[in-house]
């Protein structure tokens, strides 16, 4: 009696079941991926690699004399901007060199380029140390974005 009941049970054909299984996997994967993508931080790339890696290739020389900051881009990576960390005793504040100086070239300092600011002594009066941190311009899904490199890639100038 029980065996007969089991034989009468109805179910989906194995072929259809496989098709449905594959389809469900794909759809659910797509939904979860799109949701996950909106949560994760987008990577900013430059020259086809993550901009954090490009920071390692930045090379520049800097000098501070007579109230002016001078910079030479010795490397092969264009420097879009410079974050200037002005240290005064135990305090510090950070500003963009493009905002501090009207001489900043549009588009930044390209390979082999140089920059000399005007007299910035009024803006950095009382400072004991300047840390120049390169800012690069990268590409993300939202278009071009700037990225400030880690401080370890910056240069310290004693004032």
């Amino acid at each position: 009696m029980n065996v007969r009941k089991r034989l009468e049970k109805k179910g989906i054909s194995p072929v259809i079941a496989t098709v449905l299984l594959v389809a469900m996997v794909i759809v659910i994967a797509l939904i979860i991926f799109l949701w996950f993508k909106s949560l994760s931080q987008e990577a900013i790339t430059k020259f086809g690699e993550n901009v954090q890696l490009t920071c390692q290739k930045v090379s520049f020389s800097a000098d501070y004399a007579n109230g002016a900051i001078s910079i030479t881009n010795n490397g092969n990576v264009p420097i879009y901007d410079i974050d200037v960390k002005i240290s005064t005793g135990g305090n510090y504040n950070t500003d963009n060199l493009s905002a501090m100086s009207g001489n900043w070239p549009k588009g930044g300092i390209r390979q082999g380029g140089t920059f000399q600011s005007g007299d910035l002594s009024s803006q950095i009066s009382g400072a004991t140390q300047l840390t120049l941190i390169p800012v690069l311009l990268g590409t993300s899904n939202n278009g071009q974005q700037t990225y400030a490199c880690d401080q370890q890639y910056g240069q310290i100038l004693n004032v």
Binding site: V25, Q52, A62
Partner: protein, 379 residues
Amino acid sequence: MGFKRTRKNIKKRKAVSVLIGYVLLIVFAIVISIGVYSWLKTYVPSTTLSCKDGVSLFIKGSSFNATGARQLNITIKNNGRFNVAAYFIYATNSTNQSLPVLDLSPYLDSSHGGEQFGNAVLFSPLADNSFAPGDQVSHIFNIPYAMGNIYTLQVVPALFQNDSNNRNMFVSCSDDKINQQVGEGAQCIPQCTGKTCGPDGCGGTCSPGCSTGDTCDASGLCFNSITCTPASPATKSAICGSQTCGTALNGTGSTSCGTIFCGDYGGGCQSGFFCNSTNQCQATSTCNGVWSPPESTNVQCDGGTNCLSNCQCPAGYNPDGSGGCVASSGTYSIDDYCKAEGYSFGTCTANNGGCQNQGGVLVSGGNAYCGSSLGCCIP
């Protein structure tokens, strides 16, 4: 009884169907793998472009005349093991400055070799790594007055190199840069003769400057722009007329509104030209004491044996092809030499007193025509 209770408990437990469990497992695996891949692929570093060890340039010679034509003449030699394509060149114009940041590439006089390529100077117009080890070249840069004196030069080699994607990239060899002191002992002399204001050619300004309300004109003189009477019409073309360089007076006499620069180069001329006495731009002669072909057509010799100061060979001499002159025929005397130098005549004397008694001056270049005596030229 116990067995029946266990069967009941087993039947009451609820769980996800095995099928759904498999689906979820596979989905999570796929999603996570895609997410990790898309995030990690940007962290795969590409090949870093860097110069090979052994790339090296050497500044064999450099000279800069801060008061004359203001030309920086440098001779660069490849003393490395690899070909180089170009170089970046920077300078300082102050003794307080340790980092050369003045880019000199825009001031290259390409008529004497070299070609500007962005911020660099190419050795060859073909833009390739053609500057081989052992090669040597001289380039000239026309330094503007506003830059003042040049104290230190920095040269950074650069070359073309293929990256991992086989793209031809221009690579700076910043680890192989070289510094060179230039013009040691040469002091910049302020050009303030006849001026009371404006730039002095050494980065400063002429004194005493203009009073409040006055304006400094192109000639370094002050004028009152409110009370003066300008030319009519007061346009640059009307004031300058046919002048292509120099300055021209805006108005007449003491009521004029000062002078203005003529031409398109702030009163000067384009690279390779100079402003002559008639305020016209004229091609610069390459007569500079150094034989560096190609020389301009009016230069027969330059800095070599028997070559006169005007880069011409004396009468009876022909260019030897390396900046000097060799005798061809006839006899060349101290008289010929002095006349070629612009004096009235020349003679040989035993000492300076004898020369001065005749109203002349000793000219060391004429000694070769006087044997053991001294060459004396009389104006």
